[in-house]
Structures are given as structure tokens and as C-alpha cells.
């Protein structure tokens, strides 16, 4: 490596980054190669086990023709409307429970009975009650993601230290100001955690909901429908897009929220929970 001496700091950083990329890409190359070899060897029917080429081609075709973006758009829209509903209701109910002992006593038993049942188990019931289409799908997503938002908002409001409230009151703050300037900021890290959990649950359940409900568009519907015609390549293309959306949520929403709450509020125990 006699060139190394002549490299300036800038390219040294560049080659470090290159090495990191190569290291991350390596496992995918290995798995991809194995996949390709198995697919081409004809061990399994090509229709059931498409080559990466086929998958890539149908990914491009479906994207260019606008079919895949339309499915993805409807899925994201459904996710956001269900989650938005859950966020409004969940934070509202949770904060109310945290503030009022009476509300807590009344709502908590109901919530505790409904929450432990996996959300998808309610799906057929929702489909019967609210029709087989869009309404059921959105309501179900909202219902499923609401519980962790309620529980976390409730915990957050209860975790606000009594002494903060008393000192704010002693300094002459009225109820509204106490709520706005003490309770809300104090509970916010918990509320954000609840929202993050809720969104993750909504996302996991949505794909299945789209398979069960009769919706005309949506990635869940796309991959489920592709099964009928043995379009395994289209199915895989759909799964790739689902993975990308999931990854996007993870990188741009969940990690951002976590970083924001942990850093901004100094809740370091979330990061270093080691005893």
C-alpha cells in the first residue's frame, strides 16, 4: 500500500465509506447469487421461483406503467388516515385518562379487555359491521394502533412530576397554562413513543387488512391477487416496495422520533438500559 502515503485525508474518508458500502453489500450479493443459482438450476418451477432478473423486470414494468405507484399511494394513504384517526382518539383518550381519575377508572377496564386480542382477529367482525371495503380497512388500522397510543399517553401524563405541577400552580399558572406548559411537554416523549409504536403496528397490520378486505388498490391486495395468477415476480416486486416503505418509515420516522425524544429530553435510559 505505498499509495496510502500520498492519499490526502479526503480520499481516505472516501475509501472508508466505500469499504463500509462494500461490507454492507456483500451479504446481499451472497444471498442474491444463491437465489439466482437456485432459480436458474430449475429445482423449482420458474413460475414459483423467479430469477432476480424477472423480479427486477416486473418491478420496472409495473413502476413505469404506474400500477405499482398507484397501489403504494393507496396503501400509504390508508395507513395515514387510519393512523391519523388513531392518533387523535388515542392521545385524547390517554390524556383524559391521565388527567381525570374518574375517566381512568371508567375507561381502563374497557381498554384492558379489548387491547390484548390481536387486532386482526377483529377483522371479520369489522368487515361484517362496516362493509367489506375501505371503511373497515381504515377503522381496523385505527383501532389496532390506538391502544399503544392510549397507554403511552396515559403513562406520560401520569409520569409528570407532582412537584412540577405544584410549583407551576404556586407561581400562579392557571389550568390551561399548566396543561400547555407543564403537562404536555412532560408527557410528550411518552406520547411520541406511543405514536411510533402505533404507526409500526398500523403498518404491520395494514398489509393483511388489504388482503382480507375488498379494496381495489393497495400493495397487500396486489401481492394477494398476484397469487391467483401465479405472478410470483409481481408478488416479489410488491414485497420489495413494501420493504422499501417499511424501511423509509424506520429511517425517516421512527429513528427521527426516537432521536428527537431521547436527545431533546435527555431520556438517556432509553438508550443505555444496561444495568
Amino acid at each position: 500500500m505505498h499509495h496510502a502515503a500520498t492519499l490526502d485525508a479526503h480520499t481516505a474518508v472516501g475509501s472508508d465509506r466505500l469499504r463500509a458500502v462494500a461490507r454492507n453489500a456483500f451479504p446481499f450479493v451472497v444471498v442474491g447469487t444463491i437465489w439466482e443459482v437456485v432459480a436458474r438450476a430449475g429445482v423449482f418451477p420458474r413460475q414459483l421461483f423467479p430469477t432476480l432478473e424477472d423480479v427486477a423486470r416486473s418491478l420496472v414494468d409495473l413502476t413505469v406503467s404506474g400500477i405499482l405507484p398507484h397501489h403504494a399511494f393507496e396503501t400509504v394513504l390508508r395507513l395515514l388516515s387510519g393512523f391519523g384517526l388513531a392518533a387523535i382518539l388515542g392521545v385524547g383518550i390517554g390524556v383524559l385518562m391521565g388527567r381525570s381519575r374518574r375517566a381512568e377508572d371508567i375507561i381502563l377496564p374497557l381498554v384492558s379487555i379489548l387491547a390484548p386480542i390481536p387486532g386482526l382477529a377483529y377483522a371479520p367482525l369489522f368487515l361484517l359491521w362496516f362493509g367489506p371495503g375501505e371503511l373497515s380497512a381504515v377503522l381496523l388500522v385505527a383501532f389496532v394502533s390506538m391502544f399503544s397510543i392510549i397507554f403511552n399517553s396515559w403513562t406520560g401524563v401520569k409520569a409528570v412530576k407532582e412537584i412540577w405541577l405544584r410549583s407551576a400552580l404556586a407561581m400562579g399558572a392557571d389550568d390551561r397554562r399548566v396543561f400547555r406548559h407543564v403537562i404536555l411537554p412532560g408527557a410528550l416523549p411518552y406520547i411520541l413513543t406511543g405514536l411510533r409504536l402505533g404507526l409500526a403496528q398500523a403498518w404491520r397490520i395494514l398489509v393483511a387488512v388489504e388482503m382480507l378486505a375488498a379494496v381495489p388498490w393497495g400493495l397487500g391486495w396486489l401481492i394477494f391477487g398476484a397469487r391467483e395468477f401465479l405472478n410470483t415476480d409481481a408478488m416479489m416486486a410488491g414485497i420489495v416496495v413494501i420493504a422499501l416503505i417499511g424501511l423509509g418509515l424506520e429511517k425517516f420516522v421512527f429513528q427521527k422520533i426516537e432521536h428527537y425524544t431521547v436527545v431533546r429530553w435527555g431520556m438517556m435510559e432509553a438508550m443505555s438500559r444496561s444495568p
Binding site: 454492507n24 453489500a25 451479504p27 446481499f28 451472497v30 444471498v31 414459483l48 421461483f49 381519575r101 374518574r102 381512568e104 377508572d105 371508567i106 375507561i107 381502563l108 377496564p109 374497557l110 379487555i113 390484548p116 386480542i117 390481536p118 387486532g119 386482526l120 382477529a121 377483529y122 371479520p124 367482525l125 368487515l127 361484517l128 359491521w129 403498518w203 404491520r204 397490520i205 395494514l206 398489509v207 393483511a208 388482503m211 382480507l212 400493495l219 397487500g220 401481492i223 394477494f224 397469487r227 401465479l230 410470483t232 408478488m235 416479489m236 410488491g238 414485497i239 413494501i242 420493504a243 416503505i245 417499511g246 424501511l247 418509515l249 424506520e250 443505555s272 438500559r273 444496561s274 444495568p275
Partner: protein, 263 residues
């Protein structure tokens, strides 16, 4: 007002709230405003539940579901736990698997159901594999985090006191990582439980609690649906509280690692 009257008030209000909700539901169901098949009365649901329990059909469904969920969960632990430990202890293993895990983890398990149905057909194999997929990642991820977060000072102290690799592993690393591992199991089971119900609905065979719920939709048997919901809720509750609760008491609390992640 002292604490015990407050607690009693909480209990009374809770019971009143449940009774009021039940009475309200019953009134709506009786009012005939909605079709009776869609909104069965509470006695109807209870009768159905009792009938299905006593003729054994509900137990059969529950057994099928439990078999799938426990098999998938056991597979997930037997892969996720060792792999998580290996990833945390050996850098090359981590370098190879971490990118793959990060790419697969955001895919909801249900997205794989149609693919697995094509590959493995309808029935047990597909459901078990979906459960396995859903449960492996929380197990793996928590184990990995747990082993990495074992305090290096403990390792060095044990090493200085002459512990060999094997003792180090069993006496320091395993207990040190145990709160994370148990949290991982708990999360993994929760995911498995959700996954098995969903997978049974889509990749249905002929038994299973998820399957019976979905199947009774075809025949508008809302009472069977609700009876199955009760059983699902009950089993989930038993596992969450009784099984994992006692595992926690037997391990984490006894070893004095009280700083548990809140379940």
C-alpha cells in the same frame, strides 16, 4: 381520602363501567335496530362459547392454533437466540447478518403469506413459517442488544478472577443479557400470537382460532366469532401474564436485575 377507599372506588367504577358497557351493548342488540345476526346478544355468545367448549370443537381449534404458534415460536428462539449471541460476540458474523436483518425486518410478516402459500401450500407449514418469521427478529434483535450491553467491567472482572470462556458465558453474559432476552421472548410471543391469527385467516386450513373467526364470517355466525375472540383474548392473557410473568420472576428479579424494560 385514604388509599384504600380510593382503591375501592376504582374497583367499583371499573365494574360499573364494564356493566354499563355490557348493558348498553345488550340493549342495542335487543333493540332490533341492527340485524340480530350481526349483533348477537351476550347470552347467545356465552351459550355458543359454552357449547363449543363442551363439544370440544373450540378446544380443537385452540389446540391447532397453540401447536402452530408454539412451534413457530420455538423455531424462532432456536434461531434468533444463538444468532443474536454470535452476532454480538463475533464481528464478522455481525457484519454479514446485520444488513440482511435490517433489510428483512421492516417487511411485515403478513406480506409473505401469499408467497409462502404458493411455495408451501395451505395449512400448518405456511402458518408455522409465518410465525417463525414474525418472532425471529424481536428475539434476535433483543439478544444482540442484550449481549452487547453486558457491562465490560463485569467481563474484565470475571476474566481477572480467572473465569474461562465457558464460565464467562454462562455466569456473566447470559445473566447480564437476560433482561433483554426475556423482553425479546415476550415481544416475540406477542408478534407470534398476532401472526398466527392473521396467517390462519389468510392461509386457512380447517382448524384454528383465526380460521374459525374468518370462516364464520361466510355464514354470518357472529356469535362464533365473538366466542373465538374471547378464547383468543384469554390465551393471550394467560401467556402474557402467567407464563412470561413467572419466567421473569424466576430469572430477572431473582438475579436482581430489576431495571427491566417496562412491558
Amino acid at each position: 381520602m385514604n388509599e384504600s377507599t380510593q382503591r375501592r372506588r376504582t374497583m367499583i367504577r371499573g365494574l360499573l363501567s364494564l356493566a354499563a358497557a355490557a348493558a348498553f351493548y345488550q340493549l342495542v342488540a335487543l333493540s332490533g335496530y341492527f340485524p340480530r345476526v350481526l349483533l348477537p346478544t351476550i347470552p347467545t355468545v356465552l351459550t355458543t362459547l359454552y357449547d363449543m367448549l363442551s363439544d370440544g370443537s373450540m378446544l380443537h381449534h385452540a389446540a391447532a392454533t397453540l401447536y402452530r404458534v408454539l412451534l413457530g415460536f420455538a423455531l424462532a428462539i432456536s434461531v434468533g437466540l444463538p444468532l443474536g449471541i454470535l452476532m454480538a460476540r463475533f464481528k464478522p458474523v455481525e457484519n454479514f447478518f446485520l444488513p440482511l436483518v435490517s433489510a428483512l425486518m421492516p417487511i411485515p410478516s403478513f406480506a409473505l403469506v401469499p408467497l409462502f402459500m404458493l411455495w408451501f401450500g395451505i395449512g400448518n407449514l405456511t402458518t408455522v413459517l409465518i410465525v417463525f418469521y414474525a418472532a425471529t427478529f424481536p428475539m434476535l434483535f433483543n439478544t444482540w442488544t442484550g449481549v452487547r450491553s453486558v457491562n465490560p467491567i463485569w467481563l474484565r472482572a470475571a476474566g481477572a478472577m480467572g473465569a474461562d470462556e465457558k464460565r464467562l458465558f454462562w455466569k456473566v453474559i447470559v445473566p447480564g443479557a437476560s433482561p433483554f432476552i426475556i423482553t425479546g421472548m415476550r415481544q416475540a410471543f406477542l408478534r407470534s400470537w398476532i401472526a398466527v391469527v392473521g396467517a390462519e385467516m389468510i392461509a386457512a386450513s380447517d382448524y384454528g382460532l383465526g380460521w374459525v373467526i374468518f370462516d364464520s364470517k361466510e355464514f354470518l355466525q357472529t356469535d362464533i366469532m365473538m366466542a373465538a375472540l374471547v378464547v383468543i383474548g384469554f390465551i393471550g392473557y394467560v401467556f402474557e401474564r402467567v407464563v412470561f410473568g413467572s419466567i421473569e420472576r424466576a430469572t430477572v428479579y431473582r438475579w436482581g436485575m430489576v431495571r427491566m424494560a417496562k412491558g
